[in-house]
């Protein structure tokens, strides 16, 4: 970043729901201060301002599902010193990565009367599959607090850091009774990265892994544990094939489980 100049920020969207970039606008108490500290060069959801790069920081939401978006992403990378991905779509392909194990032509025929009008890639892939990612913020959606932490770290010039432990730790800290142990509810908390505040268990339901795999997660072991408690293989597979189903960890566990003898 140039001395004395405000850092230049740009926010981009690929295939996504807009929910992660909305979390920036959802920082209602801090938004005007953030806008004061950085130059928001490109953020089409919120402003008509459109300033060319290079950018100091690019925030990228969404997964790569079209050739056009792939080219855009490469250009974003070339134009940005630091590239940060926002959320499960950018980090793991998102819920739309469910197409990766399906027939996309059939998907297109199922929805569109004229499939020839639709141009889409067979796979929904994470940003890191195509370009170098400097830092990833997890979640579906990301936590606005974590977003604020990361932006603050970048502004004061330290490396951003977010917890890498599991949702289980958050349950213990908040005093939430374990839904898996106490009620036999299928829960991905043991293999899912913290950050949400263990919301689902606090609503008496199992974690469905929207923050994606924690560091050194052991999904195989959790799957065996769930099935030993009577969770069906089909349900276990559906859980893995969810919002972070395109992640390496969840995908390989699901493939292994599918191939395992009954």
């Amino acid at each position: 970043m140039a001395e004395n100049a405000k850092p230049r920020l740009a926010i981009f969207k690929l295939a996504s729901c807009d929910g992660c970039q909305l979390q920036l606008l959802n920082l209602e108490d801090e938004l005007l201060d953030i806008a004061d500290q950085v130059e928001i060069c490109y953020f089409p959801e919120a402003t008509s301002q459109d300033l060319d790069g290079p950018y100091d920081v690019a925030l990228v939401e969404g997964s790569v599902t079209t050739e056009t978006d792939l080219q855009r992403l490469r250009e974003i990378r070339r134009n940005s010193q630091t590239l940060i991905t926002l959320g499960a779509c950018a980090n793991a392909g998102g819920i739309q990565a469910l197409r990766n194990t399906a027939d996309v032509e059939e998907y297109t025929r199922a929805i569109y009367a004229n499939p020839s009008y639709i141009h889409t890639l067979a796979q929904s892939t994470p940003v890191a599959a195509h370009v170098t990612v400097d830092f990833a913020i997890s979640g579906c959606p990301i936590s606005r607090r974590q977003l604020l932490d990361v932006l603050t770290a970048l502004l004061i010039g330290r490396a951003p850091e977010l917890p890498r432990y599991s949702v289980c730790v958050e349950c213990k800290r908040s005093g939430t009774v374990c839904v898996l142990v106490s009620a036999g509810v299928a829960c991905l908390g043991p293999i899912t990265q913290a950050g949400c505040g263990a919301l689902c268990p606090s609503f008496h339901r199992g974690c469905f892994g929207c923050y994606g795999p924690m560091e050194s997660a052991n999904p195989d072991s959790l799957c065996q544990n769930l099935m030993a408690r009577g969770v069906s293989r089909a349900e276990t597979l559906r859980l893995l094939n969810g919002f972070a189903g395109g992640s390496e960890e969840f995908r390989s566990a699901a493939e292994k489980l599918e191939k395992a003898p009954l």
Binding site: E28, I40, I111, I118, C140, P141
Partner: protein
């Protein structure tokens, strides 16, 4: 602009301050508008396809991801469609809590659109943040309103985006009465700020533009319709929700990954959204909202799409007032959700998302897995109407510069608060002048 032998081309690739990505392409030949297309190139995500084979229990969490701004509308509509299929009828307490969630989403979404997305147009600013540099107190009021909507959603659903409490039969967990009562002072201040918002938008000079619309919205016999009712229109339609697909058709056009909805009988466009709702349901406004509507700069019913900003402001008053009513009467539903048994069935539901009528239909098998899904979001229903509006607007402004034309088009489109992520479960502006 490119001009080759009487051919003039103007392009705007990406419209700003709308939710999702879209553009517009105009073909102008010999000084006349020859063709116009709303380009929706947002990549398709195939929700209806990958929902097949999923458990109905997963559906509300998955449909929420259609849209980060109106996840509640999608999850509640999907849940109600499945409940209708299975014959589950949640009681008054659950219905009231769901209404509070709808209100929360309307407050958040309308405040976002009015203050951050549309108001900058009236002050010649690039966005809400630029507007804040000049009028910080005004933008702060909008952010405060938005925040209160988000706080309501967070209490009821755990978080503002993709809340997680809604399930088939009711809620995973219902808030305690004491927690809900804590919202009251915040909602009271949101009500005051909403009334101020109606005064603010009433001071704006709205362009004169009054197309002949068919307004379409839900209507309910006793209240301002949000989560259920019949589908009615200003041209006399009065349908049960089950009849939706017989009366409205979705067409697939080359320039859009969003399907376009039209009337099945004569192929005409129609208008969904706050203006339609207020025109059709004015008589059900609560007293404070009725007073705000009557004291506003607009006389209702109104056919000027630019009055949409006033309709949104009145609806914020309505949603705050309604929220207070629900909060005061709130009793914790016990149990928070009804048990149900699964059987093969089909069901549909329609609700009023912040941007308008939203329709979902599901067919499920005897294992409780989705066999087929159909989702018709409000922006897809409005796409054709947006094109029709632009066709009316553009001939009168063709003598202006390209930049001025594009600016006027963008402002008109923003009246619709288009949600492109929703509509594709995608807008870009491009003009070709020949």
């Amino acid at each position: 602009m490119t001009t080759t032998s009487g051919v003039r081309t103007i392009r705007l690739d990406l419209m700003s301050r709308i939710e999702g990505e879209a553009g517009l392409r105009l073909d102008v030949r010999d000084g006349r508008l020859a063709d116009l297309k709303l380009d929706i190139y947002e990549p398709p995500r195939f929700f209806e396809a990958f929902l097949r084979g999923r458990s109905i229990r997963e559906v509300p969490d998955m449909t929420a991801r259609i849209c980060g701004i109106c996840p509640i509308a999608h999850q509640l509509t999907s849940v109600q469609a499945i409940e209708s299929a299975l014959g589950i009828a949640p009681g008054a307490e659950i219905r009231a809590l769901r209404r509070l969630l709808f209100c929360a989403e309307w407050i958040e979404s309308h405040a976002l659109h009015i203050y951050l997305l549309q108001l900058p147009d009236f002050f010649g600013k690039s966005g809400g943040l630029a507007l804040a540099a000049e009028k910080p107190e005004l933008v702060r009021r909008g952010l405060e309103l938005k925040k209160i909507g988000n706080e309501m959603t967070t209490l009821l659903g755990g978080r503002a985006v993709h809340p997680l409490s809604v399930c088939i039969g009711g809620f995973w967990k219902a808030p305690r009465r004491s927690e809900v009562l804590e919202l009251r002072p915040h909602v009271e201040s949101a009500l005051e700020a909403s009334i101020e918002t109606v005064r603010l938008v009433s001071s704006l000079t709205l362009p004169e533009f009054t197309p002949e619309y068919e307004f379409v919205a839900l209507a309910h016999p006793h209240e301002y319709a949000m989560g259920d009712g019949r589908i009615v229109s200003s041209r006399g339609l009065d349908l049960s929700i089950r009849e939706f697909e017989q009366v409205f058709l979705e067409e697939h056009v080359a320039h859009s990954t969003a399907l376009h909805s039209v009337r099945a009988d004569h192929g005409s466009s129609y208008l969904a959204g706050p203006l339609s709702r207020l025109n059709l349901n004015y008589q059900h406004l609560l007293p404070g909202a009725r007073q705000a509507a009557d004291e506003s700069s607009v006389s209702w019913p109104c056919s000027n799409p630019y009055a949409g900003i006033v309709a949104r402001a009145v609806e914020m008053v309505q949603a705050c007032e309604d929220s207070l009513r629900v909060i005061d009467a709130y009793r914790e539903p016990d149990p928070p959700r009804l048990d149900y048994t699964v059987h093969a069935a089909e069901g549909c539901a329609a609700t009023e998302a912040p941007r308008g009528l939203l329709y979902h239909r599901y067919r499920i098998d005897d294992q409780g897995l989705v066999q087929s899904a159909r989702i018709v979001p409000p922006t897809a229903q409005n796409c054709r109407r947006i094109e029709d509006d632009l066709r009316l607007l553009i001939p009168g402004i063709l003598d202006r510069t390209d930049a001025e034309i594009l600016d006027a088009c963008e402002k008109l489109v923003r009246n619709y608060d288009p949600c492109i992520s929703c509509s594709v479960h995608a807008l870009r502006l491009r003009i070709n002048r020949r």
